[in-house]
Structure formats: structure tokens, C-alpha cells
Symmetry: C2
Subunit: 226 residues, 2 copies
DNA sequence: TGTACATCAGTGAACGCGCGTTCACTGATGTAC
DNA sequence: TGTACATCAGTGAACGCGCGTTCACTGATGTAC
């Protein structure tokens, strides 16, 4: 791993790192594959041994980040598992993880949450959407949510959390200190969960909404192309 | 207003229209000022008599669209005003207007909702955020929301609606038919409102969140610069 | 242990491209008298 | 009503730029014998 060698060692990761830094410095789109290569100290064409196109590099970065986020959200839930007399606590922690990430790393959040950046065969694991669904299952099993309200509930909660996250990341809403962000997140999550718990009839026989990630998994399972 | 004349008549609007079409055809960012000029049948430099830069054109388009959306949301609320035995109906209509717009015109929604695209002295009227706030005021006055939960409630509801809208516009969530979109929107709005109505203590003495639009108005009122 | 050789992961020059913006200009418009 | 002239809103050529991607190449690595 000495310097100045002809072969880099792990150029793929290095390019992803450089791209990530550029996204933070200049925004989700305002950088080039050439710049990322230059940062790593490599010619632009070298990148093409690792990524088919600039777009593929962006997609790979997006997938890496989504997987990282999924892992972190799971950890945030676990961290509050001890003092969890309140069954909603884990989901509040999840929401907090999502929102604070978007606020701390807004350019990357824009890149990732804008969507469409993940390929059909991406294996993001654990996917944030799955982590959220699992937590809602847990809440429902613990009796914190009527069973008939469970189907599709993840889209209600996801919308609320995602909305707050992107409103903050995009600067449409500003909240000054971190404590107030946490308070606002908790308010949003609690309102969504309590609102769901108050529902009087099932939304529909079949859930009508599907996440792009779930669809990909389903397609892979049935062996469908594309 | 004959064709072939040297002076265009309303080049400014024509450029905004062309840009809007390009956004729809090719995505929020994948078009140039030169293309918009060419569509209108005018040289690229002509645009600079109406916009200081490409960025200014984007900003103007964004502002025009936000004002249009604000107006439409207000109309949607009025449309259901007659049959409004349920005081939440107006806000459900508002949410439906927001979400269906984002789904029907996703590229424009991405351009506009991404934020940062409105200048400091923009006069967007009526601003969607103001329409939402007014509707919540109305609901609170009608007793549909405990008074102490009203401060900051717009950010809870906005997060939920905005979240669903951008999840759909960005393709992170898919819902096939329009009726299911409406049902999902209604579920999200009801959950948020019922969750808010169930709150037991005020969130804080002072609202911690502020929208960028509200901040601009406040700055203008106090005569602060920038 | 040494050599031949396939494979891998780089180089560097070149491609064609369209972009945003500036500049000196000119044709059209409208107002003052 | 006619003319002079300032202003407005266009033209078209040119600027410098950096981009994504391709291509023929070569240096380094590792495996087989």
C-alpha cells in the first residue's frame, strides 16, 4: 500500500470517497468524474475500469450510502432499546437518525433521497425502508398499533419522516439548534403513530403503495427481467 | 402580435414557458438556456435582456410555479367548502392538490420543491405555505384542533404531505391508480391531524421551525438586508 | 527459484460537444416637439 | 402630421471552458510450470 505505485489498490472505493467529498463541497451535481479522478491522483480514464459511466459511479455512491443509513437507523433503534418503556421510542429514534442525517449531510441526502439513483439489481442491505417496516411490525406486535392499521402504515410514517428530512435538507424549513430538530422529529413521529392508532377502519384490502426497493426485491424473487 | 417580427412581444413569458416544457421533457436540470431560446426562435443572448443568468431564469420559473400552486391549493379547498360537514375536508383537499400535482408534473415538482430556487425578494403570492397555515387556523378556530397544539402544527402537516409528494415524484414510492393516491393522501393527512389533536402538551413556548418563505417576509418587514 | 506469459489496472492524448456569457452591433418602437 | 432621437429588444460571432468517453498503449502483478 505504498505511495506512488502504479496500481492503486482500491481505486473503486477511493473514487467513491472522492465523489462523496465533492458532493459535500459543491452540491449533489456540481462535480465531474474528472475531478474525482484528479483528487485520487489518477487519470480520468482509469475510472472506467471500475464504473461503466459517471452515472454508474453516482449510483454506486447512492447505494453505499443507503446501506450505511439503513445500518445506522437500526443501531439508533437498538441504542434506545434499554430504556424503552415507551414502545414508540424506537421509531422516534429511527426518525431522529433519518432527519439528523439529512440535516448534517444535506448534499448527500439530496443525492440519495432524490431516488432513481439505484439500479435494478442493487443489493442495498439493510435498506432503510426495511428497517422502518420491521420497527412498525415490532410496534404492532407489542400492541402499540391496532393490527388492522398495520398494512401500509410504513408509507404514512415514511412520508412524515422523509418530508421533514427533505424540507430541512433543502432549506425550505429551518430549525436552529439540534435539540429543536429532535423535538420536531419526535412531534412528527408521535403525531403520525397516534394518528394511525386512532384509525377506525382498515385503509383498503390490499396495500396500494409499494416502495421501489420492495418492487425490486419482488421482481428478483420471481425472476422477472429488468 | 404577428409572427416574424423583430420584437417578440413577451419574450420573458415565452422563455419561461419553453423552460417549463424542457423541464417536463428532459428533467429538472437537463436543459440549457440556449435550448429554451432556440425553442422560442430567438438568439441565446436575447434571454439576457430578461434574465441576468440561467439561474435567474430557473428561479423565476420556480416562483411562478409556486404562486400557481398556492392559488390552486386555495381553490381546491374552496371546491369542497360546500359539502364540508367534516372540518378536515379542506385540508385533505389541500393535501390532494399538493400530491397529485407532484405526481402529475414530477419534473417541475422536483425543480420547485428542491428549494433554494427562490430569491430573497421573491413575491410568491399566495405561497403554498401560507395557504396551509390559513387552513390550519381555520380548523383550529372551528374547534378541530386544540388551540395549544396549533403553533408549529403546519410543519407537522407539511412534512407529511410534502413527504408523500416527493416520495411519489421521485419514484421512491409507487401507487398505480389515481384513486389509490387520493386514498393514501387522505390517510396521511387524517393521521397527522388526528395525531396532532391527540397531543397532550404544547410542544414548546416558541415555535422553533420557520419556513424559508416566512423568514423572507419577516426580513422584508423589518427592513433587514439580504 | 526462475522464467514465460496472460491478465489486470493504469496512462495520456484525442474526440466532439454544447454550454453560459459577453460584446459591438442594429432594427424597431415610441415620445417630444 | 412629420421628423429627430433616445430607448428598447433583438442579432450573431466569439470567448474560454470543462465535460464524458474512447482508444491504443504499457507498466505491474500473479500464476503455471
Amino acid at each position: 500500500m505504498a505511495k506512488g505505485r502504479y496500481h492503486h489498490g482500491d481505486l473503486r472505493s477511493a473514487l467513491l470517497d472522492a465523489a462523496e467529498t465533492l458532493v459535500r463541497e459543491r452540491g449533489a451535481d456540481d462535480w465531474s468524474l474528472r475531478e474525482a479522478s484528479a483528487r485520487v491522483g489518477v487519470s480520468p480514464s482509469a475510472a472506467y475500469h471500475h464504473f461503466a459511466s459517471r452515472d454508474a459511479l453516482v449510483r454506486a455512491l447512492s447505494e453505499r450510502t443507503l446501506a450505511w443509513l439503513g445500518k445506522r437507523l437500526g443501531q439508533e433503534c437498538e441504542r434506545v432499546a434499554g430504556q424503552a418503556d415507551d414502545p414508540q421510542r424506537r421509531l422516534i429514534a429511527l426518525g431522529r437518525g433519518y432527519v439528523t442525517w439529512a440535516l448534517d449531510d444535506p448534499a448527500m441526502a439530496r443525492l440519495v433521497l432524490r431516488g432513481g439513483a439505484t439500479g435494478p439489481d442493487s443489493a442495498i442491505s439493510p435498506h432503510p425502508h426495511d428497517v422502518l417496516s420491521a420497527e412498525l411490525d415490532r410496534l404492532a406486535e407489542a400492541g402499540g398499533l391496532p393490527a388492522f392499521t398495520r398494512p401500509g402504515a410504513e408509507f404514512v410514517l415514511w412520508a412524515a419522516i422523509h418530508g421533514l428530512a427533505v424540507l430541512l435538507a433543502d432549506g425550505l424549513v429551518r430549525i436552529d439548534d439540534a435539540a429543536a430538530v429532535d423535538a420536531q422529529t419526535e412531534r412528527v413521529v408521535r403525531a403520525a403513530l397516534n394518528g394511525l392508532a386512532r384509525e377506525t377502519s382498515p385503509a383498503a384490502d390490499r396495500p396500494a403503495a409499494r416502495s421501489a426497493h420492495t418492487e425490486r426485491l419482488a421482481r428478483r424473487a420471481t425472476g422477472e427481467p429488468h
